[in-house]
Symmetry: C2
Subunit: 190 residues, 2 copies
DNA sequence: GTCTATAAGTTGATAGAC
DNA sequence: GTCTATCAACTTATAGAC
């Protein structure tokens, strides 16, 4: 059993955290090596293709973290309305005034790089699709039609990405609270 | 009558367009002076505080453009459900596959800089508030309560910011189309 | 007011010692 | 495998000619 932290993992976790808060272009490799304590030579040993490759692995890391967060909340609540409401309330606490700074999981990177790096865009697209799949499944389990479930997953994913952006910009959990409160009214069945 | 284009306006328009597509950090002043044809010395004559000052004026410019877009669509449609649906359909065409590249109006800048430049964050917050005010007013005119109108404005603003991000990342107008289609179902009155 | 040349620092990336 | 020294290119910003 090896309890030593692997430099590669430290780099991915540090990059993941910094990219969330300041975006791809806002974080230099110097910031990452300084914060992680891993020297630059090692970074290029583990990521020979440089910053872009590290970013893609950081995006995949964040994708996994977010999937686990969603599944933890969704696992305990069968009703999709209640599940989504609980999920957004969790986010409102996370992005509210107090606490240490967290940024949008990958939204900022996607906004910056969608037109200038196809590999990064594809990594972001993959994360978005995987998250939406969990949402879709939740609606399917509650007997929404497949078409309805897919559309509602898109709607709620957009709502969450937008809500996080509003919370960060307003420096307040209020926008996400307002969204959480409205969810039951939005999802009343006809 | 002076029909000469003012260098200051050219700079703001160019910066506004480039920041939308690639974000704040992703655009250098060299890109802006090259694309605008205005030399660097003139940029610092009109914007003595440099890039940050230019960015704030670019954000205010984009804010105005977006307000006019919303009001144009909203002006012709009194029912808020129909108005929002038309607005999102417009966006789905704008951000769909064809056409020249447009980025999120200010969402990317907000995501990048909310924690590292308070003046830029405030400019973004101001734009978000002004857009939401138009949304709120539309619901008030349709006799929603004030509290409901404010909350729904936040919900729909988040939906639009998130929808634009999904469209850019997926390189497709489909997410925004799906959102537009769901709007009537989301806004059924209880 | 307009523009060029250049400064001072930082960026992503590499070469090569150990 | 690990780390340091260094590179060329680029960044924002400035000084000063015209």
């Amino acid at each position: 059993m090896n309890e030593k932290v692997k430099p590669k993992d430290v780099l991915i976790e540090t990059a993941s955290r910094l990219f969330r808060v300041r975006g791809y272009c806002g974080v230099g490799l110097n910031d990452i090596i300084e914060e992680s304590g891993v020297p630059k030579g090692s970074l290029y040993y583990y990521f020979p293709e440089g910053k872009e490759q590290l970013a893609i692995e950081a995006i995949n890391h964040t994708k996994k973290l977010v999937m686990e967060e969603i599944q933890t909340v969704f696992g305990g609540i069968s009703n999709p309305i209640d599940a989504f409401q609980a999920h957004v309330y969790e986010l409102s606490k996370m992005f509210g005034e107090g606490g240490n700074p967290v940024g949008s999981p990958i939204g900022t990177i996607a906004g910056e790089k969608h037109s200038t790096s196809e590999p990064i865009r594809l990594a972001c697209e993959s994360a978005f699709k995987d998250w939406q799949s969990i949402y879709t499944e939740k609606f399917l389990e509650a007997d929404y039609t497949r078409q309805q479930s897919i559309s509602l997953a898109i709607v709620f994913h957009a709502l969450i990405e937008g809500g996080i952006l509003l919370a960060l910009t307003m420096k307040s959990g209020k926008p996400l609270e307002a969204i959480a409160e409205q969810i039951p009214l939005l999802l009343i069945k006809k």
